[in-house]
């Protein structure tokens, strides 16, 4: 899923300072699952903002909504009739959702209520960790199902580097060395021959470096 973290209240209050009425828009997709941008978070954030604004002597009216997904046009359209009645939309969907809404409603400022993080997994309730960078050229079959691009702080293809100590990355004690994980998996899969092969230079053109990417499925259009 796409993960994220809430922006500091101070920063949001500064963003909404010019407005007297806004929509706070959540999303039932990824951000609901990682508890940063769903229905519940819309309620908590809206209450918080109302309280802060009223205490400061300038009330704000907030319409609370949560869309099925902010990244699909069919769920954005139902908002059209009333978006214009509000001065701004504060979205707590991921960066993709926020931008998509911005594209649809040209005359309404869109404000981000969260900092979008990474493509990750729920390691346990309340703890999420990165797994994928969407580099566009997956090599997991060669690396024991563990991604060197994401899990190695240097994204190296022939690791581990000299900074690997007891399975820990030199960057921080709570980061596992991605290459130690790869080697452990390759060993248990009896695929260590994969380790000894030189890998070609990665084609970063398949990644964001090639410019914003697009997928076109003729059969679906």
């Amino acid at each position: 899923m796409i993960t994220g973290t809430p922006k500091p209240i101070e920063e949001i209050l500064e963003m909404i300072e010019p407005y007297d009425n806004i929509i706070v828009a959540g999303c039932f997709g990824c951000v609901t699952v990682c508890r940063v941008g769903g229905d519940k978070e819309v309620q908590v954030l809206s209450s918080t903002l109302r309280l802060a604004r009223e205490a400061s002597g300038r009330k704000i009216e907030i319409k609370e909504i949560c869309l099925e997904r902010q990244c699909d046009p069919e769920y954005l359209e139902p908002m059209r009739p009333y978006v214009e009645d509000y001065q701004a939309v504060l979205s707590i969907a991921c960066g993709a959702g926020i931008q998509f809404m911005a594209e649809k409603f040209m005359k309404t400022p869109l404000l981000p209520g969260i900092n979008t993080g990474f493509l990750g997994v729920t390691e346990r309730q309340g703890e999420w960790a990165e797994r994928c960078q969407g580099c566009g050229d997956c090599v997991l079959h060669l690396t024991g199902g563990i991604c060197p691009v994401t899990r190695c702080a240097k994204s190296i293809f022939h690791g581990p580097c000299g900074g690997s100590v007891n399975g820990t990355c030199e960057v921080a004690k709570d980061i596992k060395c991605g290459w130690q994980l790869i080697i452990d998996r390759l060993k248990s899969l009896d695929q260590m021959e994969n380790y000894g092969k030189l890998k070609p230079y990665k084609g970063w053109d398949a990644s964001r470096d090639g410019g914003p990417r697009r997928i076109l499925r003729e059969d679906m259009i």
Partner: protein, 114 residues
């Protein structure tokens, strides 16, 4: 009606302040004694989160507090309540209520002026 403090979430607590509460006491069962295993533990962490929200928006974190009591501790309940009420009285009305009163006074003056 709440079956358990575990049902309380942050928005409910914040709503209480929006509805004009100067302070909110959350009273759950004794820790380790929850009928729903860990409802009161969850409530405690949610109260903690609201505590930090109230601190950030300068409503005052001390306006919310969690207590744990068993149903048989009537005297303790009274003591906790008195303690909390005097804590809130010391803090005075919540900034929301102050702002509301101020706004009401201003609009009354406007009415008088017209």
């Amino acid at each position: 009606m709440l079956p358990c403090t575990g049902r309380i979430d942050e928005s409910l607590l914040l709503k209480a302040f929006e509805n004009g509460a100067d302070g909110v006491m959350v009273i759950g069962c004794l820790e380790g004694d929850c009928h729903y295993v860990n409802g009161n533990i969850r409530a405690r962490s949610r109260v903690k989160r609201v505590y930090s929200i109230l601190e950030q928006i300068r409503i005052g974190p001390d306006r919310i507090r969690m207590y744990n009591l068993s149903a048989g501790e009537g005297a303790k309940f009274a003591a906790f309540t008195n303690e909390f009420v005097s804590q809130i009285e010391n803090l005075g009305p919540s900034p929301i209520n102050v702002a509301r009163k101020q706004a009401a006074r201003e609009s009354a003056q406007e009415v008088q002026a017209t």
